[in-house]
Amino acid sequence: MAAYVTIKVCTKNILLVCVALLLTAGPAIAADDNQPDSRPDSRPDYQLGAGYRFGDSGFTVGGYSSLQYQDLQNSGPGNAHTSLSHLSMFVWWQNESRLKFFSEVDNQNPLSADEQAQDNGQNFLSIERLYFDYTINDAVTFRAGKFLTPIGRWNQLHADPLVWTTSRPLITVNVFPEHITGGMALGNISIAGVPADYMLYSSIGTDIRPDSAEGQFNEAYGARLNLPVSDSLQVGVSYASYEITGATGANEQLLGADFVWTSNGIELSAEGAWRFSSLGSQYDIKGGFFQAVAPVCDRLFAVGRIESVSNGPGQSDTRLGVLGINYRYSRAVSLKAELIHGINQPINDSGLLSSVSVLF
C-alpha cells in the first residue's frame, strides 16, 4: 500500500513537472531562437537554449532537463517507469575581464515513479562542474576546479538535449571517471595552419562532492587535441594516465580517438578507447562505438549505433545495437525513442528508452 501511494505521488509530481516544463518552454518555443536586439545597447534577457542573462551583470543562468521513460527487459516485469532523470542548472559569470566562473549542479533522478530507484539513493545532487577560468590570450586559458574529463566528445557534451540518443555509449561509462578536479590549460592554436583546440590537465586527486556511483581519479594527467580537418570533419585524440580511487590500485593508460563528420544533415561519428592496465594485458579494456544519423523528414532524424566493449579477464565482449528516432522540435527541445539490443551486457539492458529533453 505504501509503495502504491509513493508511486502515485511521484507520478503526480512528474506530471506537475511536465506541465511546468511545457509552460516554461511554450512561449519561448514560439519565439525566434535568434530573436534580434531592437536597440544597439540592449540584449534579450532570455532565449530558450541560450539561458537568462541578468542584464549587464555578466551572470547567465540556464540548464537542461530530461524526462525519461524506460522499459528494459532485464529490469524484470512491471518495471517500466518514468522519471525526471536530470534537472541541471548552469550559472556562469563573465564580463569584459579575463576571468570567468562556471558552475553546473545536476539533480539526478529528482522525481521517479520507481520506488526502488529512490530507495537506492539514485536521487543525487551532483556538482558536475565548478571552475574558474583565467584567459591569458586565445591560445592559453588556465582552468582550476572541477570539470568534465576531456576524453572523447560524448563526455564533454553529454547533456541530453545535445546528444542523439537517450542511452549513453558504454565506452563513455565506467572506463574512465567522468569528472576531474584539478587544473587545466586549454586554448586554440594553429597547427600547420589548422586552428586546433588543445587541453592539458592534471588532477589533485580529491573530487569536489564525488558521486559514490562513479569512479574517482586518485592521480591523473592527460591531454586532448581536436583538429577540424575540414569544414565537415573533426578528428580528436585523447591520452590519459590515471589511478582510480578504491580500485585495484592499478595505473591505467588510456588512448582514445574520435571523429565527427557532418554534411547535409547527415552525421557520422565514432569514439574508440584502449585502456592499458599495469596489472597485465588481461585487464585491458578496449571498445568503441560508431553512430550514424540521417534526416528522415523536416526535423525528424533516424539514429543507429553499434557498440562493442571488452569486459576484462574471462568475460565475453559486450555488444550493443541501438536504433532510434530523434525529433528536434527546435534547437533546444528534442524527443527521442530508441530500441536497444545487446549481447553479453552486464552494464546496460535491452529494451525501450525514450525521453523528452529541454535545453533552457
Binding site: 525566434d32 531562437d33 535568434n34 530573436q35 534580434p36 536586439d37 531592437s38 536597440r39 544597439p40 545597447d41 540584449r43 537554449g49 541560450a50 539561458g51 547567465t60 540556464g62 548552469f90 556562469w92 563573465q94 569584459e96 570567468k100 562556471f102 584567459t135 590570450n137 586565445d138 564533454q156 557534451l157 547533456a159 538535449p161 545535445l162 586554440n188 586552428p195 583546440d197 569544414d231 557532418t262 534547437r331 533546444a332 535545453l359
Partner: protein, 150 residues
C-alpha cells in the same frame, strides 16, 4: 555629344533600381581607431565562432550578427563559416553547454553600424553600400550579395 551622354546618365539615374549597386560585397566593419594590424579570413571565422575572443591589444572582441532570416547573414555565414545558421545550431548548443554564447544579434544593418561605431572592440558586417563615415571597413568579402541602399 556631351549633352547626349549627360542625358543618358540622367535617364539611368532616374530609372527605378538604379540605386542597386552593380558591385556586390559584404563589408566587415569596426570603429575608427580600433583597427587590428591585420585580419585574415580564418581569423574572421574564428571570431564569429567565438574561438577567438581577444584582439592583439588585449581588448575583448564583440562580434555582432544580423537575424537568421536576413539574406546578408545567410551570405556571410555561408561564405565565412561555411555553414548555414541552421547547420550551426548544434555547434552553438554545444558552446552554450560550455558557457559560451553566440554573437549578439541586431535587427538591422543600421543598428550594427550604430553599435560598432561607439564600441571599440566590436566587429560586424553590413552590405558594401551601407558603409558610411561612422565606421571603417577592415575587410571586403566578394559574396555576390546584391547591395541596395535603404
Amino acid at each position: 555629344m556631351r549633352l547626349l551622354s549627360q542625358l543618358i546618365l540622367l535617364v539611368w539615374l532616374l530609372t527605378p533600381g538604379a540605386g542597386v549597386h552593380a558591385e556586390p560585397g559584404i563589408a566587415i566593419i569596426m570603429a575608427p581607431g580600433a583597427v587590428p594590424a591585420k585580419l585574415t579570413h580564418d581569423e574572421l571565422s574564428l571570431i564569429f565562432k567565438a574561438k577567438k575572443q581577444f584582439w592583439d591589444d588585449g581588448r575583448r572582441i564583440q562580434a555582432l550578427n544580423l537575424p537568421v532570416t536576413h539574406p546578408l547573414r545567410r551570405a556571410f555565414s555561408s561564405q565565412v563559416l561555411k555553414h548555414s545558421p541552421e547547420e550551426l545550431e548544434d555547434y552553438w548548443s554545444g558552446m552554450y553547454f560550455q558557457g559560451v554564447l553566440p554573437p549578439h544579434v541586431f535587427d538591422s544593418e543600421e543598428a550594427v553600424i550604430r553599435f560598432v561605431s561607439i564600441t571599440p572592440g566590436a566587429i560586424g558586417y553590413v552590405s558594401h553600400c551601407a558603409v558610411d563615415h561612422r565606421i571603417i571597413v577592415v575587410m571586403q568579402l566578394d559574396s555576390g550579395y546584391p547591395c541596395q541602399k535603404p
